[in-house]
């Protein structure tokens, strides 16, 4: 998969921009607030139909406009496809080769991106919610069906919470318990599968960048899961375990009006040797951990799907110490992946650049090609 060209129309502060990315590294250089992150945001939105940072679709549309569009030409398995996404009056529509995409699956077929932003660097020390989002993005990249499955789960969960708040009779509530348990078990299985695939990759990548003796570990085990071993349980056993968990907490949930057990409250525990990274890792170590996770994710996607995802790096270099930044740049240069990166300082990313690197300067929403 290669991204051949990109164009933006009224996307955030980009009025009308066209880019021709390199097959390898493309760098957008600019001061903060000029619009370089918006270039990446557009690609992310195009590839996932979800915003990377903005919380509302309307925030993606250029101020004062009602219509916005991002499109990209991709080479997918030897064929050239144009995919596009439009926001018109707050409604998003996706197109493949000019035709409205019939389903999300047909739209997502083959395009995958891995984004890496400064926000990701705080995942280790941040909230469990941040870690869940981080994990779920990776799960979705690996298992596209996860998108529908997690939407189903959210819907089942919201329904149950509504019944809890409305003080619905237990007979009605228990039907939703069983539904939450069924869909929830599926999410557990997906997350477990991805983390299983990443485990050795994370250890390996971390030992290359971590400068720490202790091995890195990602642990995921749902809380209050009585009677089953999460690592080996079948999906059905997990379903029964979650149903039992919901049942055991029913009185409490009923009093508080929300569901306190399930994939939506779980946390990913990152460990360095015996210690919890959240409590003990230095800032440098926690960033190395995130970096190791991303590298493992990229390599896993390549192993399982046969091609490298498109990598988006938003001003990450300025947040890393020189040595870790050097590792990352070296990794990018050697990976052969197509990379779009932004930076305030071209020097920081120069070692990832090669002869075929394309350089762009971004200023007040205008993008122009420049010589490196």
């Amino acid at each position: 998969m290669k991204l051949l060209s990109l164009s933006y129309e009224n996307f955030r502060n980009l009025a009308q921009v066209t880019l021709e990315p390199s097959a390898h590294t493309t760098v957008a250089v600019g001061e903060n607030g000029q619009g370089k992150t918006n270039l990446l945001e557009g690609v992310y939105f195009l590839a996932t139909l979800k915003a990377l940072r903005a919380s509302k679709l309307l925030e993606l549309v250029r101020f004062g406009q009602t219509f916005s569009r991002v499109s990209g030409r991709f080479s997918l398995g030897g064929a050239e496809r144009e995919i596009a996404v439009e926001i018109r009056n707050g409604v998003r529509t996706a197109f493949v080769d000019g035709k409205r995409a019939q389903s999300l699956e047909s739209y997502f077929g083959g395009v995958s991106v891995v984004a890496f932003t400064p926000d990701d660097l705080s995942v280790v020390k941040g909230s469990p919610e941040g870690r869940r989002t981080f994990l779920d993005r990776a799960v979705f990249n690996r298992f596209p069906a996860f998108l529908d499955e997690s939407r189903e789960y959210q819907r089942a969960l919201k329904s149950r919470n509504r019944l809890l708040k409305d003080r619905a009779p237990f007979a009605h509530l228990s039907a939703w318990d069983a539904t939450v348990a069924k869909v929830g078990a599926r999410l557990w299985v997906r997350r477990r599968a991805l983390l299983g695939e990443l485990a050795t990759g994370v250890v390996e990548a971390f030992s290359r960048i971590g400068r720490t003796e202790a091995p890195a570990q990602l642990l995921y085990a749902p809380e209050r899961l009585a009677g089953v071993d999460f690592a080996t349980a079948s999906e059905e056993q997990l379903m029964h375990a979650l149903a039992a968990g919901l049942d055991a907490r029913l009185q409490r949930d009923w009093e508080r009006g929300f569901t306190s057990v399930g994939p939506h409250v779980d946390d990913v525990e990152l460990k360095l040797g015996e210690h919890s990274a959240r409590a003990y890792a230095s800032q440098g170590q926690s960033r190395a951990l995130v970096l190791a996770w991303k590298v493992a994710e990229i390599e896993n996607l390549q192993r399982t799907s046969g091609f490298l995802p498109l990598l988006l790096l938003d001003d990450v270099s300025s947040e890393l110490d020189p040595e870790r930044n050097a590792f990352l740049m070296q990794y990018l240069a050697n990976s052969g992946a197509q990379v779009l990166l932004t930076t305030t300082d071209a020097q920081l990313v120069r070692s990832a650049a090669g002869a075929d690197t394309r350089w762009y300067k971004v200023k007040t929403g205008l993008v122009e090609a420049v010589d490196g």
């Binding site: 189903e152 329904s159 019944l163």
Partner: protein
């Protein structure tokens, strides 16, 4: 200025689902231009539907008011031991098109949906239970949709019906027949894969 009578027609048509103001106007002009017989026929058909069609008191499918029961309930060739529970009349008709199912139906007229404020009392569930009290029904097939609401409704019914000693079954999920694997969406395919069976 268009005459009030035309405006009233446009306003009424625009209330129909899927019909916007412009389409309503186009339809109204069509009625106006057609021979007067068409408009009389249309209005008679509209009134007939309201005056003569009601819900069957037994299965809540559509029924001619002149008859005490709908065609499905009064058909003596159908199997009284099998009862298929569906969300709506459209689902019932879809099943009927297969010409395979020869049991009886029960239409719930919706599914449990807390987010839309639909609970068991808004559905024809009490009527289903009353109906099952003293009948020959041996098996109830739950044919609600495979989404979370349909699933929760099926589970809710299962818990009510099982204690009554009735066999409860659910429609299988998976790849549509005659459909190519390549056209199945990923969630369906994933589900079908995990529910695979020995042959």
């Amino acid at each position: 200025m268009t005459p009030d009578a035309l405006n009233r027609l446009v306003a009424q048509l625009a209330k129909l689902p899927g019909i916007g103001e412009k389409t309503a106007q186009r339809l109204a002009f069509h009625v106006l231009r057609a021979p007067a017989e068409y408009a009389r026929g249309l209005s008679a058909a509209l009134l007939d539907v309201v005056d003569h069609v009601s819900l069957c008191p037994k299965c809540f499918s559509l029924c001619d008011k002149a008859h005490p029961q709908c065609g499905f309930c009064s058909d003596t060739r159908r199997d009284d031991k099998l009862l298929c529970v569906v969300e709506g009349i459209a689902d019932e008709l879809a099943l009927e098109r297969t010409r395979e199912f020869k049991g009886r139906y029960h239409v719930l007229h919706g599914v449990l949906s807390p987010l839309e404020g639909v609970g068991p009392d808004q559905l024809r569930i009490r009527e289903l239970l009353t109906r099952l009290q003293d009948t020959d029904v041996e098996e109830v097939i739950l044919a609600t949709n495979p989404d979370v609401e349909g699933e929760a409704t099926a589970l809710y019914l299962t818990r009510l019906l099982k204690p009554m000693g009735i066999k409860v079954t659910r429609l299988a999920q998976g790849i549509p027949m005659g459909g190519d694997l390549e056209f199945a969406d990923q969630a369906t395919l994933a589900r079908a894969l995990s529910a695979r069976r020995d042959i």
